[in-house]
């Protein structure tokens, strides 16, 4: 009975949503002509290359135009880690060690992971270093790096993450982001102002001023945060969960 009611309610919601989206035809050009930009998106498409020197417009938006959002996003991730730490915090008894839920895995998986790990990390770093040139960027790259660590965490029961190092990476990356922003405030008058580093030439590695720097920092930070989250979630003592 409850099912039917809920379905009916959701169908009503769905009906109204579809009805609303009827105003927005799929695939229509809503950007408008270059002379008459109808959305901010059009403005970005028309001006990014010229004004920021970044080939990937999305990166420019994420890191610069809407860099403040990204700062918030990074903070959300940071908070997620912190929050997880606080929610799952457990006062450790004397001599007690973190123990992972995972079982000792097969030799095949272990070897495979060991071989793949450096390549995955490399790929991840590549992705976030080239975030301003190619698809991808700090978040994607960070996620890839975290996947590498996830492989190791799953494969090796005793794989130890340096918590200290994670904290350092996390914090330094965050500090870099904010400091660059503040530096912009001091030199250029606005927070995250992309003015104190030359823009460079389009489509080269060193282009876009602060954008790649921030994105790399973001990449490190995301990698560290995601790894941290995975580690925390995997480190629940199995004995605590009763069947």
């Amino acid at each position: 009975m409850k099912n039917i009611i809920v379905i009916a309610l959701l169908l009503v919601v769905g009906f109204y949503l579809v009805d609303s989206f009827n105003y927005i035809k799929f695939g229509d050009n809503r950007l408008g002509a270059p002379s008459d930009e109808k959305t901010v998106g059009a403005y970005y498409l028309n001006n990014t290359v010229e004004k920021t020197g970044v080939a990937n417009v999305i990166t420019a938006i994420i890191v610069n135009y809407r860099g403040f959002d990204t700062l918030g996003e990074v903070t959300v991730l940071f908070l997620a880690t912190t929050g997880l730490g606080s929610i799952l915090y457990r006062r450790r008894k004397e001599g007690e060690h973190e123990e992972r839920v995972t079982k000792e895995s097969s030799y095949l998986l272990q070897t495979g992971s060991k071989i793949l790990f450096p390549f995955v990390i490399l790929l991840g770093i590549y992705v976030f270093i080239h975030g301003h040139l190619t698809p991808g960027g700090g978040f994607q790259g960070g996620a890839i790096v975290a996947t590498g660590f996830l492989l190791m965490l799953i494969a090796y029961k005793n794989f130890k993450l340096g918590h200290n190092q994670l904290t350092w990476v996390e914090s330094l990356a965050g500090i870099t982001f904010v400091s660059i922003g503040m530096w912009g405030l001091i030199t250029g008058g606005t927070f995250l102002e992309n003015s104190f580093i030359p823009k460079g030439t389009l489509n080269s590695l060193f282009s876009g001023g602060i954008i790649p720097i921030i994105y790399i920092a973001v990449g490190f930070k995301v990698a560290a945060e995601l790894t941290g989250v995975l580690d925390i979630l995997l480190s629940i003592k199995p004995s605590k969960i009763k069947k």
Binding site: N3, V6, I7, L10, L11, V13, G14, L17, V18, F21, N22, I24, K25, F26, G27, D28, N29, R30, L31, T39, V40, G41, Y44, L45, T48, V49, A55, N56, V57, I58, I61, I62, R66, D69, T70, G72, E73, V76, L77, L79, A80, G83, L84, I87, L88, L133, T134, P135, F139, L202, N203, V222, L226, V229, I232, L233, I236, K240, I241, K242
Partner: protein
């Protein structure tokens, strides 16, 4: 691509499928009793939202908004970059929420020894 006379059908089916995903997610949240399933439902709804985001950014014949050396200077139609940027943020936030949700599920399970939401009602009225 030109949808021509099928414009409406395409619109409804593209958006409709994304919306359906959202609704399925919400259904799971509202009906399923298992906490994990509820979290899955939330993720599903999130995924639907992300799809919608990308869909509204699409425009006919558009390419990725990257001025790689091959497209610089040429008159290429590009899709709206803003929704893509937004969806990235949304994904990250969705991840964070899911992570927190899962950790709370773990806590709840430890505390109440059950993962059924209708049995976790010590706070009421």
């Amino acid at each position: 691509m030109d949808f021509g006379q099928y414009q409406n059908i395409v619109t409804i089916s593209v958006y409709g499928s994304a919306i359906a995903l959202i609704l399925i997610g919400l259904y799971a949240v509202l009906i399923k009793k298992n906490l994990i399933k509820i979290v899955i439902g939330l993720s599903l709804a999130d995924a639907g939202i992300h799809l919608l985001f990308v869909a509204i950014g699409y425009l006919k014949g558009g390419t990725a908004p990257i001025f790689s050396p091959s497209v610089v200077g040429e008159n290429v139609t590009m899709v709206d970059p803003v929704p893509q940027a937004l969806v990235l943020t949304a994904i990250v936030i969705g991840f964070a929420v899911t992570a927190v949700a899962l950790s709370l599920v773990i806590r709840l399970y430890k505390h109440h020894n059950t993962a059924r939401i209708d049995q976790i009602k010590s706070l009421k009225w």
